[in-house]
Structures are given as structure tokens and as C-alpha cells.
């Protein structure tokens, strides 16, 4: 894809800015640098920074993977640059009309149970799970973005999901009615 025009870019912004900011934030740990990173990514795209790659006929998918890859690299650069310590992903605040603290606590008991469990995974497990289920990337796309091998991605997802299942069972046996939450 050559440099997109304003219309295309707006469409891409609309579609990907939020997922990308969220993803960047899971790496940088704070929203503002995540926004900077995503802005830089899009500016690179706008300036034709994405090489027209022959491989992959699906240009939309390719653009998506490219955006995630660039975002990830810049976010990691940012981290290395500004911090000796690498924050790991934690869910950002979920939108809520700010009820009282106690109510929040109770409500989140269930709503964020899953996010809390995610925290217990290793960063790389968490990252592939995010890319897979939050952003619907395929194994190969995840491999491209993270520069892992497809086998590694498969292994991370496998162990991550397994751990998650164990945690779910352990933490809330009565809640482990997965069929219910599928609905």
C-alpha cells in the first residue's frame, strides 16, 4: 500500500487508533506515551513509510499487521529509552460511571476477574493472548508482529490458555461455568 490519502487514513485511524493505543499502553504502561507512539506510527504510515510488500495478497490484513508491528517496536523503543524498567501490561480503566468505591470493588469482582487473571500470566503470554483475542490476529500475524516463530506463538497461547483455565478453576470454582459466559 502506498501512502494513503486522507480518506483512507481517516478510515484507518477510526478503525485502529483505539486498539493500537490500548496495545501500546500495554507495553509502555501509560496512556500518553502510548498515544505518542501511535501518533508516530500513523504519521509514518501517512508518509508512505509502509513498504509495499509483495507477500500477502490481503493488503488490509497486511496493513493491520504492519500497524501493530510498528506500534510494538516504537512502544518498546520508548520503554527502553525512558525507563530502565519495563512495565508489564495491566488493563487500563474500563469505562464506568464511577460508582462508589465499594460498589466498584464488588462489581469488578466479576467484571475484571478475567483481567486480573491475565495479570498472572507472563508478559509474553499476555501479549499473544491480547493480540489473538483482543485484536483478532492470526498465529502468523502475531508471529510477524512479535517476531516470534509461529511455533513459539502457538506454544505461548497454549500455555497461556492452560494457565488461565487453571487459574479460573482455582480462583472461582463456582464461576467456572464457561458455557454460561459464552452466551
Amino acid at each position: 500500500m502506498p501512502a494513503p490519502d486522507t480518506l483512507e487514513l481517516t478510515a484507518l485511524l477510526d478503525r485502529f487508533e483505539r486498539p493500537l493505543v490500548r496495545y501500546a499502553q500495554s507495553i509502555t504502561g501509560d496512556l500518553e506515551s502510548a498515544r505518542d507512539v501511535v501518533q508516530e506510527t500513523f504519521i509514518k504510515l501517512a508518509r508512505g513509510g509502509m513498504n509495499t510488500s509483495a507477500e500477502g495478497s490481503d493488503t488490509a490484513r497486511h496493513t493491520e499487521a504492519w500497524l501493530f508491528t510498528v506500534t510494538r517496536n516504537r512502544a518498546l523503543d520508548h520503554q527502553r529509552k525512558f525507563s530502565r524498567i519495563i512495565p508489564m501490561t495491566l488493563p487500563e480503566d474500563r469505562p464506568s460511571p464511577a460508582p462508589g468505591p465499594a460498589a466498584v470493588l464488588e462489581q469488578q469482582e466479576s467484571a475484571t476477574a478475567l483481567f486480573r487473571l491475565l495479570d498472572a500470566l507472563s508478559p509474553n503470554q499476555r501479549e499473544v493472548i491480547r493480540l489473538k483475542f483482543q485484536n483478532d490476529l492470526s498465529y502468523r500475524e502475531i508471529a510477524d508482529v512479535t517476531r516470534l516463530s509461529v511455533t513459539n506463538v502457538g506454544f505461548l497461547l497454549h500455555t497461556g490458555l492452560k494457565k488461565l483455565r487453571e487459574l479460573l478453576r482455582e480462583q472461582a470454582p463456582e464461576d467456572f461455568d464457561l458455557s454460561r459466559s459464552v452466551l
Binding site: 490519502d5 487514513l9 485511524l13 487508533e17 483505539r18 493505543v21 490500548r22 507495553i27 501509560d30 496512556l31 500518553e32 498515544r35 505518542d36 501511535v38 501518533q39 508516530e40 501517512a46 508518509r47 508512505g48 513509510g49 518498546l76 529509552k81 525507563s83 530502565r84 524498567i85 519495563i86 512495565p87 488493563p91 487500563e92 480503566d93 474500563r94 469505562p95 464506568s96 468505591p101 465499594a102 470493588l105 469488578q108 475484571t112 478475567l114 483481567f115 486480573r116 500470566l121 507472563s122 508478559p123 493472548i129 489473538k132 483475542f133 483482543q134 498465529y139 502468523r140 517476531r147 502457538g154 505461548l156 497461547l157 497454549h158 490458555l161 483455565r165 464457561l178 458455557s179 459466559s181
Partner: protein, 832 residues
């Protein structure tokens, strides 16, 4: 092929791309023949469905309008040379809380718990150094009549300069009406009236050096905003010289609404990449991620980005040091007191483990306040005394160093009000280490020994679940028995435990007594980020009910220091780190009253510097306690508590007016207003070369600018300052003043603050004439700066710091100062 093969999972997820037909056939055969495998696959699919349903629901912020505009503007333009301009960052708390950190500490700290040099043996060493103990005792007794008794028996220096400001004999007329709360709407009132004059103890007798021209007790001033700067939002400037922000018509709308928020939570940020031209203005607040990572399967993948994570890490917030601020542009410096001492013990633990502490763990104010200083007891009804001393700054002899000391009223053991204590004890699996739960049990045993009949204790434990293991009781045997039974196991769910603990504390509330939740944990909480914020909110809420918090940190492998700092801060509490039984003894035996009994809350300090005398100033430490200047008079703004007998010490490094300094934080000239715009609000005519005035900046040493790179900035000396009110010249004595110290505090159960003011004039004291306590405090600050590799350490070296500490050792009855000397040795060896 079995269910434990990644391909099996891939198949369940419908990822068939990289599965060979043979593998696929094998998997499908397995699914058909093995019900267990089929169940596994179904479970995986159900989980996947749940993840697909719930993960995308996570909040995802968009870019800001300006950022989108900048992106669209870039369409078609060639790849640029310059970098993207970072946009002004909103220092929102939420963004800050989103940050989560694992410090790269590689373990090994664990099993060396009780190796800190024994205080007893230090005492012995000290005794050999010929410091008679009886003198020690005399010296530690608070002198109630300092003007009558020069402290020569205490201080061996001939001319002690410590200036004691007693404000005991004040008759405090409460101002009519609730001025503080009405302040915003109230019409302008005449300047605060003088309600009483301080009796100045010790100002004539033994110092002759510091002049004190009389303190005032004022009613809360009308209006929160200083005159002449109405409604100026505290925006965070984030400018890069020479680069115009590609802002379209969109205003920086974020700045106005949340200015107070921003300033309150702002920290400057040192830029390790050397971008000294970028002024960072946002909080670096990070939370800890649960350490389960360490127990996790560590994968052998060595991909980029996954290689920097050390398993089992403690979490320390970064601290960017306060910078020098020009007294003329930012004459007010405002901060909350802090009585936490945890940082000292944490640093000690690192040093004793032969490791250099991460700079984020070195909080200079906590190092300073670990030690008690010889400040006089307060007199009259006022809960604490204030002391100021100024002398040459040892690490920059051309500068002056001001020491501010507060001391809370001592309460004798037998007069301590009855206590209602709820121990909230983390018994999760991570506590199962010698320096955690066992030490915790011993520590609480020490505390129980100190309790009296009228004190009651309840115990709540939390792990995966929380529960009350001891209902409130006065029975010490029952307490000991319950403590003895504690065992570690399970995961950690701190939130519900905290709720239960506060519930119990409120249920058994003792009016007029000490009501306190004592949280003991390694801080390793598997709560999500939102839960952490709401937890903090809840704690702040509970603190209003009169139940305060003490946070005790244990262990080092995954200590969540930053969370405990915040909990103690929001919960009207204090935070101590227990690394040894000796430290437990300090907290629970020697300083029990300080730990338990709060005598004043929301204690804020505001210093106004006189630009005729002060070119620039720098608050040493207290980076996490900075307040906006408006917060000082805002009684809704939470601040630190002071306990019975607590001493609080703060240092300012001052560049005298007329001196040049290369370290001054300057901001760029304003684009839309000339410095003379608000000259009417200034006490002086504009100087020939006016420095740019940043009216939007918070008054305290918050970030807006990083030190200008190397450029020496001349500090204009003011001519005759005139009174801000009447336009008349100030009296000569006032013009000579270095600064005025203002204090606000509330009674522990009050919600209206009282104001106290004390001016300070610099008598030109040399280092040689400074008091031992002054020297010791300077040594502690030097130690902190060296450990942090501070840009401001000046001439400080381990050698010189040790000399200052020796000079300031004093009687040292407790042995802590002597221990400090041994830590200096360790630090010196480690850093060289």
C-alpha cells in the same frame, strides 16, 4: 499427539494454517476417541469465546484531536527529518495508574533477614567512643524553657544557631465563619488580621544570630488564588525549543479543567536519554504486577522485548529530583509533610545485601525523617513546634542550606489514648519466607507487649479469601495465640480484607482514642489497576471516618513499595518497612506513640522566598509530596499526618540573590503575554532583564522545566521591594528576611485548618557554627543524593558525608546515627 500439544490448542482455536493434514487427522482422531481430550478442547474453546467476548471490552483510548490532526497533516509529505513533536501530556491520575512496573531487580535478597548490625553492638561501639550515657539522657529530654537554659549541655558547639519558634502561648481566636470553605466564593476580604503575636522563645538568649520578627496567626486568607493570577490554569508546559507545535484550532482543553489534579500529581522526570530540552510533566506512578511471573514457566523464547524482565521484582516509583527554581518567578514552595521512614530501611536492606538500591527507592525525605532531631517540645495547645536553622550548604559552600524542623507533641506512654487496632495481615503464599510472616509475627508480638488493658486488637487475615481470625479483644493471651496460629498460603486478595478490617475498626470505634488499621504485607496484590485506584479511593474515604492506616512493608523480592506509599498517603497513615526485628522495635516499642497516635493531620508547609535575598531555591526531597500553591489554603486537599513525638525535617538549598547558577530551571519566554503583564501583582518593578514569568506553573518545584543545559542564568538582584498590599517600601528588617515559613494543620478530628507563620532571616552562619543536628541532616541528604547520583550533589563525596555525619553524631542514645555511619561505609564500598 495429546492434549498438551500446542497444535491441539491451535486446532481448538480453529488455527489450521500451520497444522499439517496428518496432524489434523491425528487430533481429530484423538478428539473422537478420548472424552478427556474432547473436554479439554471444549474448555479451551469456551475460554477463547469468553476472551473474545470480554477482552475487546477493555477501555481503549483514542488519540487526541491534535494528534489525529497532525497525522492527517502528514499525508503525502515525505519522511521527515525531524521527529514527531510530543504533545502536551495530560498528567491524569488514570494514565498514571495505568502504568505498571517491574523493576529489574534480580532476586537473591531473601534469606539474609536478620543480619543488620545489631543496635546493641553499635551502642557498645559508641560507648567505647566515650559518649557517656547519662549525658545522652539529659540531652534527649525536651527542654521546655529554651530561653532560660541555653542548650550548651546538649550541643557542644559554642554558638548554636538552632532557632526555636514557640507558639505555645497563642490565644487562638477562631475566625468567624467557615472562611476556608467559602473561600472560593467569598468576596475579597481585608488582608488577614493579626490575631496574636508569638512569644519567641530563645530568640535573644543564645543565638543572637537569627532574627525573628514575629510570627502571626492568621485566619484563613480570603480566596484561594493569589491576587493577580485569577483562573490561570496550571498547564504543563512541554515545549521543545525551536519546534512549533502543529496545533490546529483545537484548544488544549485538557489543561483547564484538571489543573489542580495535574499539579497535585506532577513529578518532574529526569530524562535518561539526555533530552534535557523536554520538560516532562506527568506522573510516573506505577503499579506492581503480580509476581506470579516468576513462578511461571519461563519460556525459552528470546524474542525482542521479552528479555529484560527479571522475575520476582520489587516495584519502586521513579523519582525525578526537584530542580532549582527562581525565587522571583516561583516564590512559593508548597508541600505536605511526610513521616514515612520506609525508604531508609529499604535502602539499608539493599546495602546490607551488598546491592546498590535503585534510585527510586531512595526518598530523601524519608531518610531525613528516619532520625529524630533535637527539636523542642511544643508549648500550649499547639500540637507541634517549628524550628528553623540556616547555614552554609556543605555540598555547595556558596549556597545556603535551610533546615525546617517540626516536632509533634510527645505523649507519655501512660497517657496514650486507648487504642482500637485491627491488624490486617497478608498470609498469602508469598509471605512464606523467614523475613516476612515469621518476622511479622515477632513484630506484632512486640507491639502486643506494649499494649495496655484499655487497648483492643482484632486480627483480619487475607489471602485468597479474607476472614477475621480474632474479634476485637483486650485479652493479650488471645492476641498472641491468634498471631501464633498464622500461616501463609494461598493467593492474595487484599481488597476484601481491607474492607473487612475497616468494618471491624469502625464497629469497635473508640471515640477520642486511636483507631487504626495496621496493614502488614509484602504488597503483592493481584488486583487489577482499576481495583487499585478504587481501593485507594475507598481508603481515603475510610480515613475520613477517623480510622487511620499504618502500612508495614515486609520482604524485598516483590515488595510493592509504590502501592504501600500510596495507601499510607491516602489513608492518613504512615509507612514503615520492617527489615529486621530491630526495626520492628523502633516502630512498635521506641516510637509506638508516634506510630499510633496522630496529633495533627493534613500538615502542609508553604515557604515564601524573598527574591531580594534568594535567587533560587531547591527543596531537597519531598518530590512525592509536592502540592500546588493553591492547595495550601484548600482544606479539602489531603496532606501528611504527624504523630506524637514525630520529628519532620525538610531542607532547602538556596542560591543567594545575585549569584549565578547553571542549574536553574528556566522556562521559555511566554508567547502570549509579556512578563510585565502581571507586574502589578509583583512586589517589585520589573527588573532590567526580566526573566520570563510562568504564571501558570505551580509554585512548587514541579516540573515545568528541566534545568537549562549549562547556561548560567544571572539572577537579578531586586532593589527595594515594596509591600504587596500598600505599595509602601517594606521595612528594612522584612527586606532582609530570607523567607517566611507558613504551616497549616488540622486537629486529628477537625476539618478546618489553622495557619502559622514564621519569618527567617539568614544570620550568615558558617558551616562550622551550625548545630550538630543540622550537620547530621545535611549528611543524610548527602547520602541520599550520592545514592541517587543526584545532579545536585555538588562537592559531596562519601568521605565528606561521613565527616559531616561524624560531626553531627551527637549523643545518639538510640544508636541509629551510629548505624548510619556503617551504612555510609557500605554504600561507599558499593559505589566505588
Amino acid at each position: 499427539m495429546n492434549a498438551d500439544d500446542p497444535k491441539f490448542t491451535a486446532h481448538a482455536l480453529g488455527e489450521l494454517e500451520d497444522i499439517t493434514p496428518a496432524e489434523r487427522a491425528e487430533i481429530e482422531a484423538l478428539l473422537a476417541s478420548d472424552p478427556a481430550a474432547a473436554a479439554e478442547a471444549a474448555e479451551t474453546q469456551a475460554l477463547a469465546a469468553r476472551l473474545r467476548a470480554e477482552l475487546p471490552g477493555e477501555a481503549a483510548a483514542a488519540l487526541q484531536e491534535e494528534q489525529r490532526a497532525a497525522v492527517l497533516q502528514a499525508v503525502g509529505s515525505p519522511e521527515p527529518v525531524s521527529k514527531v513533536v510530543p504533545f502536551p501530556r495530560r498528567a491524569t491520575v488514570l494514565a498514571a495508574l495505568a502504568a505498571c512496573v517491574v523493576v529489574g531487580l534480580s532476586i537473591t535478597l531473601i534469606f539474609q533477614a536478620l543480619q543488620t548490625p545489631d543496635i546493641a553492638s553499635l551502642r557498645l561501639a559508641k560507648a567505647k567512643a566515650k559518649v557517656p550515657d547519662d549525658q545522652v539522657i539529659v540531652a534527649l529530654q525536651p527542654f521546655t524553657e529554651p530561653e532560660a537554659k541555653a542548650p550548651s549541655q546538649i550541643l557542644s558547639t559554642p554558638a548554636p544557631v538552632a532557632q526555636t519558634l514557640q507558639f505555645g502561648d497563642l490565644t487562638v481566636d477562631k475566625p468567624k465563619g467557615d472562611l476556608a470553605n467559602q473561600a472560593v466564593q467569598a468576596p475579597p476580604l481585608p488582608p488577614a488580621e493579626e490575631l496574636g503575636t508569638l512569644r519567641l522563645a530563645g530568640s535573644n538568649g543564645y543565638t543572637g544570630a537569627t532574627t525573628i520578627s514575629g510570627g502571626k496567626l492568621q485566619s484563613p486568607p480570603p480566596g484561594n488564588a493569589p491576587p493577580g493570577k485569577p483562573g490561570v490554569p496550571a498547564t504543563m508546559s512541554n515545549s521543545k525549543p525551536g519546534v512549533a507545535l502543529p496545533v490546529t484550532a483545537a484548544p488544549l482543553s485538557t489543561a483547564t479543567g484538571s489543573s489542580q489534579f495535574q499539579t497535585a500529581y506532577t513529578e518532574t522526570r529526569a530524562d535518561p536519554a539526555g533530552h534535557s530540552d523536554v520538560a516532562w510533566a506527568r506522573p510516573i506512578r506505577r503499579f506492581h504486577t503480580p509476581p506470579n511471573v516468576s513462578r511461571d514457566v519461563q519460556l525459552a523464547t528470546d524474542a525482542a522485548g521479552f528479555d529484560n524482565l527479571a522475575p520476582g521484582s520489587s516495584s519502586f516509583d521513579k523519582i525525578a529530583e526537584n530542580v532549582f527554581l527562581p525565587a522571583r518567578e516561583t516564590p512559593l514552595s508548597t508541600f505536605s509533610i511526610d513521616v514515612d521512614t520506609a525508604s531508609y530501611a529499604i535502602v539499608r536492606r539493599f546495602l546490607n545485601d551488598n546491592q546498590r538500591p535503585p534510585s527510586g527507592a531512595v526518598r530523601i525525605e524519608e531518610l531525613l525523617n528516619y532520625f529524630t532531631y533535637d527539636y523542642p517540645q511544643p508549648k500550649g495547645d499547639v500540637p507541634f513546634s517549628a524550628t528553623m536553622e540556616v547555614a552554609a550548604c556543605p555540598w555547595a559552600p556558596e549556597h545556603r542550606l535551610v533546615r525546617i524542623g517540626l516536632k509533634g507533641r510527645e505523649i507519655p506512654k501512660d497517657q496514650r489514648p486507648p487504642s482500637n487496632l485491627v491488624f490486617l495481615i497478608d498470609v498469602s503464599g508469598s509471605m512464606n519466607m523467614p523475613i516476612k510472616l515469621p518476622l511479622l509475627k515477632q513484630s506484632l508480638g512486640l507491639l502486643i507487649d506494649q499494649l495496655r488493658e484499655q487497648d483492643q486488637v482484632a486480627i483480619v487475615v487475607y489471602a485468597g479469601n479474607s476472614g477475621c481470625v480474632l474479634e476485637p479483644t483486650h485479652d493479650k493471651a488471645a492476641m498472641r495465640e491468634a498471631i501464633g496460629r498464622l500461616e501463609a498460603g494461598g493467593s492474595t486478595n487484599g481488597a476484601s480484607g481491607i474492607q473487612l478490617a475497616y468494618q471491624i475498626a469502625q464497629r469497635s470505634f473508640i471515640k477520642g482514642g486511636t483507631n487504626r488499621v495496621i496493614l502488614a504485607t509484602d504488597g503483592d496484590w493481584n488486583v487489577g489497576i482499576t481495583n487499585q485506584e478504587s481501593l485507594l479511593e475507598m481508603i481515603a474515604q475510610k480515613a475520613k471516618s477517623g480510622v487511620f492506616l499504618t502500612a508495614l512493608g515486609f520482604g524485598m523480592d516483590n515488595l510493592n513499595d509504590s502501592m504501600l506509599v500510596k495507601l499510607a498517603d491516602r489513608g492518613n497513615g504512615n509507612y514503615a518497612y520492617i527489615d529486621t526485628l530491630v526495626e520492628a522495635k523502633k516502630v512498635f516499642v521506641e516510637q509506638l506513640s508516634s506510630t499510633l497516635v496522630t496529633i495533627a493531620k493534613d500538615v502542609k508547609i508553604q515557604v515564601e522566598f524573598n527574591p531580594a535575598q534568594v535567587g533560587a531555591y531547591r527543596l531537597v526531597g519531598y518530590e512525592k509530596r509536592l502540592l500546588a500553591k493553591e492547595d495550601f489554603n484548600n482544606d479539602k486537599k489531603d496532606a501528611g499526618e504527624i504523630g506524637a513525638g514525630h520529628t519532620v525535617t525538610a531542607l532547602y538549598e538556596i542560591v543567594p540573590a545575585g549569584q549565578e547558577t547553571s542549574q536553574l530551571a528556566m522556562v521559555d519566554k511566554l508567547k502570549y503575554q509579556s512578563p510585565s503583564d502581571d507586574a502589578s501583582a509583583k512586589p517589585a518593578p520589573p527588573s532590567p532583564e526580566p526573566a520570563p514569568k510562568d504564571a501558570e506553573k505551580p509554585s512548587n518545584p514541579t516540573p515545568a522545566a528541566a534545568p537549562a543545559a549549562g547556561a548560567a542564568v544571572p539572577l537579578p538582584k531586586l532593589e527595594t521591594p515594596v509591600s504587596a498590599n500598600r505599595g509602601e517600601p517594606l521595612p528594612a528588617s522584612v527586606r532582609k528576611e530570607l523567607m517566611t515559613l507558613k504551616l497549616r494543620y488540622k486537629a486529628p478530628d477537625g476539618d478546618k485548618s489553622k495557619l502559622l507563620e514564621f519569618p527567617l532571616t539568614d544570620p550568615g552562619t558558617t558551616w562550622e557554627k551550625s548545630s550538630p543536628d543540622f550537620r547530621f541532616a545535611a549528611a543524610v541528604a548527602g547520602y541520599g543524593m550520592l545514592l541517587r547520583d543526584s545532579n545536585y550533589r555538588g562537592q559531596a563525596t562519601w568521605q565528606s558525608v561521613a565527616e559531616w555525619a561524624h560531626e553531627g553524631l551527637g549523643p545518639d542514645a538510640s544508636g541509629y546515627r551510629t548505624e548510619f555511619l556503617s551504612l555510609l561505609e557500605k554504600a561507599k564500598a558499593l559505589t566505588q
